[in-house]
């Protein structure tokens, strides 16, 4: 069983909402990345998302653009990213790990080889931002043959027929983009979120994660009212940007995520009570 499916089954049984932090591999320094991942898990992350740096991150805002540029300056390529995953897996066999990135570096390696390498390293799913369901048949097949899920984005603009298509191909969870915009934009409207998440839920039995533009305990808690998973990316990456040592980065991750975790758990317990009534 894929670690993601197992993890969401556990969370469901516990009535908890998943916290999914995103960090860019190699940012702020490649030597910090594995410890950053472990720190995230210790601070309460249920799944972790690791960004594969790319030179032209068309769907990302300034924070992740900068993180990718810095990671690339340190020479963080796909081989390094997979090494980080292997290293992470030496101490953590349980936490699901998702690689997020763009198609060209994957195609340059060859999608088939990429799928095999990622599975061998201990990756559980891939999210390719510039590979919508329409173009995904081949990649989806190759990933599935190695037991990897492909995560698809669903946006506020997504039509019902597109939603059906993505839901058919999706594995692991469906990732609802909470805003019309790039990652890290600050215009999340929590109140309009619930009906959209319900619309997605009507069409898939997979858990629904929400991300893009969520920052801080308060927003995370608000999103946790409706979502099965809350993705925190740019807000965390932004804080890591100024860390000049492994220790500082680890501390920053803990300090940022621990209160988020706590706020989300309070919501989850109230959701449980509601469900019980």
């Amino acid at each position: 069983m894929n670690r993601i499916d197992r993890r969401f089954a556990e969370l469901d049984a516990q009535g908890r909402v998943a916290l999914v932090p995103y960090v860019t591999a190699g940012h702020p320094h490649p030597d910090f990345s594995v410890d950053i991942l472990h720190a995230a898990v210790e601070a309460g992350a249920d799944l972790v998302e690791l960004g594969m740096p790319f030179s032209d991150v068309m769907a990302d805002g300034p924070v992740i653009q900068n993180a990718c540029a810095r990671a690339l300056e340190h020479g963080t390529g796909l081989d390094h990213v997979l090494d980080m995953v292997r290293s992470f897996r030496q101490k953590d066999e349980q936490t699901p790990l998702i690689l997020m990135g763009y198609l060209n570096p994957i195609e340059r390696r060859g999608a088939e080889r990429f799928a095999a390498d990622a599975a061998e390293a201990g990756v559980d799913a891939i999210l390719v931002v510039d590979c919508p369901a329409d173009e995904a048949d081949e990649l989806k097949r190759l990933l599935a043959s190695k037991g990897l899920h492909q995560i698809f984005l669903v946006a506020p603009t997504t039509t019902e027929s597109r939603l059906d298509h993505a839901a058919r191909l999706a594995g692991g969870f469906v990732y609802y983009v909470s805003i019309k915009g790039v990652t890290g934009a600050a215009s999340l409207d929590v109140t309009s979120l619930a009906p959209m998440v319900e619309k997605v839920r009507d069409r898939t039995r997979l858990p629904v994660a929400v991300g893009f533009g969520i920052r801080g305990p308060e927003q995370a808690a608000a999103v946790a009212q409706t979502a099965d998973a809350v993705v925190i990316g740019s807000a965390l990456v932004d804080r890591l940007d100024s860390c000049d040592s492994k220790e500082a980065a680890v501390k920053e991750v803990r300090d940022y995520l621990a209160p988020v975790r706590e706020a989300m758990d309070n919501v989850a317990s109230s959701r449980m009570k509601k469900a019980a009534v």
Partner: protein, 407 residues
């Protein structure tokens, strides 16, 4: 009224419904944009078949752009080269000075028909930015143009023109600070403002329907040229020559000739400081197949799949990808793609300026350079048609800088 040929033959076989030219093209963008691309695709198909819309497009091409543009026999240059006769399709005489206006007039009308109040554009040399700002001014729309900071520096005249036209010019500091980064930023803007904004993409690259739509709006160049060749010379040329960055002027010229199998087609890429090194922008000559800016095409990347920084003396060719239809024409063998260095382009710039009194854009100078080489190898009864895609006024600062002249 001069008759333009834009309503003829607008239904080519490719791309297919999902926007593919063989393995090339497609729609590789974030989900947020996919519905907008579907909406645009539907609107484009609908209005191409709408007689009133196309009549207005034709009227604007005739009276606002100044079409048809003439064919000009470059007798002095021909004599100097000593080979085939060199004929120029004078897109430099269009309003705003390049072929780019054909497409922006079309997309501007489409934006209005779709009820959009705000247009955005990316630009390299600034010609597309100026053409977009021009159309936005006329249609009373807000216009934001994204331009790499390096290009803002080397194309300062065009930046000022855009501002005079009322556009906001945003200098993009990311990455290589050139056209590819401007395109990324325009896509981000569109992703954020997708409800009220129309993205006027300037070349035959990007996600479907842009490669096909921009081609269709520019194909007036080739249709006119084909008719003019028959009318003025009684035959089609031996070869077509056009420069290729993203490839819009080349596709505009080539497309109506695709079925004319005896007409050779040459796309001229920027070989910069030479194809053996990395300082060039020749994705078809020296690149490989990958995915960039929403389509599968030839591109320049490193072993890890990161997009490479490119170099060309001409900002408009300084781009690491190319339109997917060119990738298709290359692989199918229908068109040949060649490289011209900065130095060769500069020589051709001067040669045309001094022999004919026509100052070409530095992008266009690449086509002139290859056209001269080609003509030299052909007998004098052959005809070579070069797309003179833009005028060179915008480039005088660059030419001076390259040649160490200060004003």
């Amino acid at each position: 009224m001069a008759k333009t040929a834009s309503t003829l033959d607008f239904s080519p076989a490719l791309p297919d419904r999902s926007g593919h030219f063989g393995i090339f093209g497609g729609r590789f963008v974030s989900e947020t944009l996919m519905p907008a691309l579907e909406e645009l695709d539907q609107a484009w198909r609908r209005y191409l078949a709408d007689a009133d819309f196309m009549a207005e497009f034709d009227r604007d091409l005739a009276h606002f752009v100044g079409r048809p543009s003439p064919l000009y026999l470059a007798e002095n240059l021909t004599r100097q080269v000593g080979g085939a006769q060199i004929i120029l399709k004078r897109e430099d005489l269009n309003h705003t000075g390049a072929h780019k206006i054909n497409n922006t007039v079309g997309q501007g009308l489409l934006a209005r028909a779709m009820g959009k109040k705000r247009v955005i554009a990316e630009t390299g040399a600034g010609q597309h930015g100026v053409a977009s700002a021009t159309v936005a001014a006329r249609l009373g729309m807000e216009c934001v143009v994204y331009m790499g900071a390096e290009d803002v520096r080397r194309q300062s005249i065009n930046v000022f023109r855009m501002k005079l036209l009322g556009a906001e010019v945003v200098a993009v500091e990311a990455g290589s600070r050139t056209l590819k980064d401007a395109l990324n930023e325009a896509m981000r803007d569109w992703t954020t403002n997708v409800d009220d904004t129309f993205y006027i993409l300037g070349t035959v690259a990007g996600p479907h329907p842009y490669p096909a739509m921009v081609r269709d709006f520019n194909a007036v160049v080739g249709r006119e040229a084909r008719a003019q060749m028959i009318e003025q010379y009684g035959r089609l040329p031996k070869a077509l020559v056009a420069c290729v960055g993203g490839g819009s002027n080349a596709i505009g010229l080539f497309h109506p000739f695709i079925e004319d199998r005896d007409v050779d087609m040459y796309g001229v890429e920027a070989a910069g400081r030479g194809l053996s090194g990395e300082e060039h922008a020749a994705s078809l000559c020296a690149g490989r197949v990958g995915v960039l800016h929403g389509s599968r095409t030839y591109l320049l990347d490193d072993e890890a799949g990161q997009i490479r920084h490119t170099h060309s003396v001409s900002a408009g060719l300084d781009y690491p990808g190319v339109g997917p239809e060119h990738a298709w024409l290359k692989d199918s063998g229908r068109a040949q793609y060649v490289g011209i260095t900065d130095e060769e382009a500069m020589k051709a710039f001067h040669a045309l300026t001094r022999s004919e009194g026509i100052m070409p854009a530095l992008e266009t100078a690449h086509a002139i350079a290859y056209g001269m080489k080609l003509a030299a190898e052909l007998p004098s009864d052959e005809l070579v048609l070069i797309n003179l895609s833009g005028r060179g006024d915008k480039d005088i600062n660059t030419v001076a800088e390259v040649e160490g002249i200060t004003f």
